[in-house]
Structures are given as C-alpha cells and as structure tokens.
C-alpha cells in the first residue's frame, strides 16, 4: 500500500519561497547553477575489485555506488535465448536520516524499476549474447545500486552508476564440466559485458511555476513533481517516469523534455570520460 509521505515541516515553506524566488531570476538556491545545468558530476569505475564491474558516482553531494555481479543461472521460460538482467536498489540507512533499515520501500523499488526499464527496453545490454546453453544456462547479471549519500536526484545518479558499472564489467571465465555443470572462475575476467547502447536519465523538477534540472534534496523536497527522461546516445527517449504528488500540463512536459534533452550531454560526457567509447 502506498501512503502519502510525511512532508517536510513549516520551515520548508519559507525555504520553498526562497527557492522559487531565485528560480524566478533564472538562478538556483546553491548560488552557482542556472535551472538548466546539473551539479558537478564525477564518475569513477572499478572501485570494487571483487565485483565484475563497479562505479561510484558523485552528483553534487549525492553519492551512489553500483556493483555488477555475474552468475550462471537458468533463463526465464518465455525468453530461453536470453541472459537475465536484474536491477536492485538499496536505500541503506547511512545515506539519509530518512532511511530506515529494512527491505526496499516503494521509492527504492520505483528507482530500481525505472533504471531497469531504461536499460531493458532499448536493449542496452545484449542479453541475446549472454546465453551459454540455450534454454538451460545463461549469464545472470545483477546490478546493485547502493545509495551512500542522498542529496537529491537519485534517479540520474543511479542511472549513471548502473551504466558505468555495466561498461566497467567483464564476464568471468567459465568451463563446462563433463557432468554438464557450468563452473565459473571469477579470478579470470574475459570479455567485456556486451552492451549496445549507453543510456542516461535526466530529471527535471517542477517547483511552482518553474522547471529545474537535477534538483538537490531541498529542491526535490519542495517540488510538485519530477519527470525522469531516459535517453540513449542517439537521443531517442527510452523511458519516462513522472514521480511525485503533483501534476504537469502538456506544455510543461514539453518544456521539461527540452531541458532534459539539452542536459543529457553533461552526463554522457562524464560517462565517456570514465569509460571511453571504444575507438574514441
């Protein structure tokens, strides 16, 4: 059951007014940004040697770590010729005073599912080439998102971390025993995980009459709603999620799309710097 969350207390109404006031002047509450520019973003890969792929993303003060683990398992019955991709997010309590220990809540589940769909629908991971024995044994790819510090806009940071960790990942060596059992040797990393697209998400918040990209925690808290747009490297829209208790007009949605499209290259650049395009 989904329940209206606790809203920040009265003080934030004043803060909200301040946030809207600076937005009305084309500025942001941090005194640095304009409404169309994401915060500083840093992508680092290979931070966890034991994982087949990993990344740490800092987007302003928001920190998200992603780890990719690869196992051997059985395919889903309706896709016997495809590997399995699973995205999971943990809002661990060290990241925010609002997070409590426990199984993922609706926010963590929504985040993981939006990232999952943005990767899956466009075929970012080439699942067809992750088959070991059709219908029987395939590679199972786990993407685990670990929110370490929550200063707003977990969607964009998590999508970046997931994508960077996937780009960093290598498949482990495996052997087929005489019994037919597949044994993997994680100490030997071979081919990179086969990827076909690079995907980023860009979040635009609606705050009163204003739109602003990459909201920080305070902006997010006073926002009416957010739109998360996912793009591939060719500019196609590969996922959308409206999130938050408010609503938007069609005109606002169109403007938000424009803002998101124009901000996407900032994330793609951070990604390409951390994991250069092959041949680049």
């Amino acid at each position: 059951m989904s329940v209206t969350p606790f809203r920040l207390p009265v003080i934030s109404r004043l803060r909200r007014e301040a946030i809207e006031e600076v937005l009305s002047r084309g500025l942001r509450i941090d005194g640095v940004r304009d409404p169309f520019t994401p915060r500083n973003v840093k992508v680092e890969v290979g931070v966890i040697e034991k994982a087949e792929g990993s990344a740490l993303v800092k987007l302003g003060n928001t920190q998200v770590m992603a780890g990719v683990k690869v196992d051997v398992g059985t395919p889903f019955r309706d896709t016997p010729d495809q590997g399995v991709l699973t995205v999971h997010a943990e809002f661990v309590p060290l990241a925010s005073p609002l997070f409590e220990p426990g199984p993922p809540d609706e926010n963590a589940i929504e985040l993981a599912r939006v990232v999952d769909r943005s990767l899956r629908e466009v075929g970012a991971v080439d699942l067809g080439s992750l088959v070991i024995r059709p219908g029987d044994k395939v590679f199972v790819v786990w993407v685990d998102l670990y929110i370490l510090d929550h200063d707003g806009n977990l969607f964009d940071a998590s999508m970046l971390a997931a994508m960077a960790a996937l780009l960093n990942a290598r498949l482990p060596h495996y052997e087929e025993l005489e019994t037919g059992e597949i044994v993997i040797d994680r100490s030997r990393r071979e081919e990179p995980l086969p990827l076909r697209h690079r995907v980023v998400s860009v979040t635009v918040a609606k705050i009163g009459r204003y739109l602003a990209v990459d909201p920080d925690f305070e902006e997010e808290s006073v926002s009416d709603a957010r739109l998360v747009f996912s793009f591939d490297e060719t500019g196609r829209i590969v996922g959308i999620q409206k999130t938050g208790e408010g609503a938007l007009s069609i005109e606002e949605i169109t403007r938000a799309l424009e803002i998101a499209k124009n901000a996407a290259p900032v994330y793609f650049k951070a990604l390409d710097e951390a994991v250069p395009q092959p041949g680049a």
């Binding site: 059951m1 989904s2 329940v3 209206t4 606790f6 809203r7 609706e106 926010n107 589940i109 929504e110 993981a112 599912r113 769909r117 899956r120 629908e121 466009v122 075929g123 699942l127 709603a225 739109l227 591939d232 500019g235 196609r236 829209i237 590969v238 996922g239 959308i240 999620q241 409206k242 999130t243 938050g244 208790e245 408010g246 609503a247 938007l248 007009s249 069609i250 949605i253 169109t254 799309l257 499209k261």
Partner: protein
C-alpha cells in the same frame, strides 16, 4: 526490449482485434457496486476488468502515519491470483508496489485532502482480469469510486495507455499489443484542470512520436472522463456508456 517481427497491424491499418489505431476498446463503467465500501466502481476496458473501493475519510489503525494538515491518501493496486494467464502469487510484487505509488500520485493532484486533516482516505484497486492497461483502468475506477464516496475532488481523472506497434502509435493497447509492441506509455490526467497526473514510458519513442502519443492519450482521456460524468449522473443505474458498449468506447 520487444519482439519486432510480429505483424499486429494489417495492410488496411487495422489492429489484431479490428480496431483502428485511434480506437478505444469497449468501455463499461458502473458505480456503487459494493455495500460496505463508502464508494465503489467497476470498470472494464475490453477484457481488462478492475474494481475499486474507497473508505474514508477515517482513522487508520496506525496513527503515526497521519498528517496534521491534510488527509493521507493510501492506495493499493493489487491483482487477483486468477486475473492473469499464469496464476499471480497474491503477495504484493515489486510491480504492484511501484504501481500503487504511481496511481497514488495520479490521484493526489485532484483530491482536496486538506479538508480532512488527521484522517486517511483509502483507495483499494483490485484487478479482476488483466488484459493490458490495468493501471490506467485502475485510475479511472478509482476516480469513479472516489466520486461515489463523496470525496471532494477538483476534477475527475481517467487513464489510458498509448502503444507503438509495428511502428504505429495505437490507443488503449491490450496485452498482446503490449507484449509484442515497441512501447507502452500509460497516461492519466484531469482534463478539467488541464493536467497530466500520471506519465510513464516503457519502450522507445522518438521525440516526435512521444508528443503525438501524449496528444492521442489526452484526447482519449477527455472522452473517458465524459463517460465517467455520464455514469455519475445516472448513479446506481447502468450508464449509457455501458449500454452502448462497443467500439465507440
């Protein structure tokens, strides 16, 4: 990633069930279908059948979740085990948890929750048969049940999904089109407020396709909200929409 080899649009431009791209499925609506609930409605989009019930404003068992300045809205989207081809495990899936949130956020913008501080308004949505578009059918059923319960609303909402099948944008996709198509974009909105309250895209669209799909959804939502109004006018009787059934939707 959707299979792209299957033909779901005929050479005449018709869909597998004979509809044109911009056609809704037959829509049926009925309100006041339950005796205990404060408000209720059953809505069908083709074979998709969803029942919604509203309780409240009331005091929930766990008081810690109450808010001092408004009612909390509690929404549960849930599928009956027999609603799907393979039996659905009755424990809430991750999908159901996400959709409960998305639907709650699709309803909040039209409710005057500040009228009822320190109470809860509960919306329970049960999918009885799933044939595509269950979340958007659920929003429509919830809108009717809220109105039936007399909860003050700024406007009615309705939902519909637009899909892309064999490169064609099609309205109100069913399960076959959803599973075979290239994109599924559920939308809900309140035409009387000019606001979109739910928007998701699962799949791939160009910017232009997205804008056309959004427009297509919006016009359908306007029609569905009109049906809601008709049904509420004839409360507890069969609405014209139901009697006509059919393609007109």
């Amino acid at each position: 990633m959707k299979a792209e080899g299957v033909r779901l649009i005929t050479e005449e431009g018709l869909r597998h069930d004979g509809r044109r791209p911009e056609d809704l499925r037959p829509i049926k609506m009925q309100v006041g279908v339950l005796s205990n609930a404060d408000g209720s409605a059953i809505v069908e989009y083709g074979k998709t059948k969803v029942i919604a019930a509203v309780y409240g404003p009331r005091e929930p068992p766990q008081k810690f979740m109450l808010l001092p300045d408004r009612a909390v809205l509690r929404v549960r989207y849930h599928m009956a085990p027999f609603s799907t081809s393979d039996r659905k495990n009755p424990a809430p899936s991750r999908r159901e948890i996400e959709l409960s949130k998305v639907i709650r956020e699709a309803l909040e913008p039209v409710l005057l929750l500040e009228y009822f501080p320190r109470t809860a308004i509960d919306v329970f949505i049960e999918v009885l048969q799933a044939d595509g578009g269950t979340r958007t059918t659920g929003v429509t059923a919830a809108s009717l049940a809220l109105a039936d319960a007399g909860i003050p609303m700024k406007a009615l909402v309705a939902g519909v999904a637009v899909g892309k099948v064999n490169g064609v944008l099609v309205l109100d996709i069913d399960e076959v089109e959803d599973s075979m198509g290239e994109a599924d974009m559920p939308v809900a909105g309140a035409p009387d407020l000019g606001l979109i309250t739910l928007l998701q895209l699962n799949g791939v669209l160009s910017e232009d396709e997205f804008k056309r799909a959004l427009d297509m959804a919006w016009r359908a939502i306007e029609r569905i909200v009109e049906m809601e109004k008709e049904v509420l006018r004839g409360k507890y009787g069969l609405a014209p929409a139901q009697e006509q059934g059919g393609v007109e939707g």
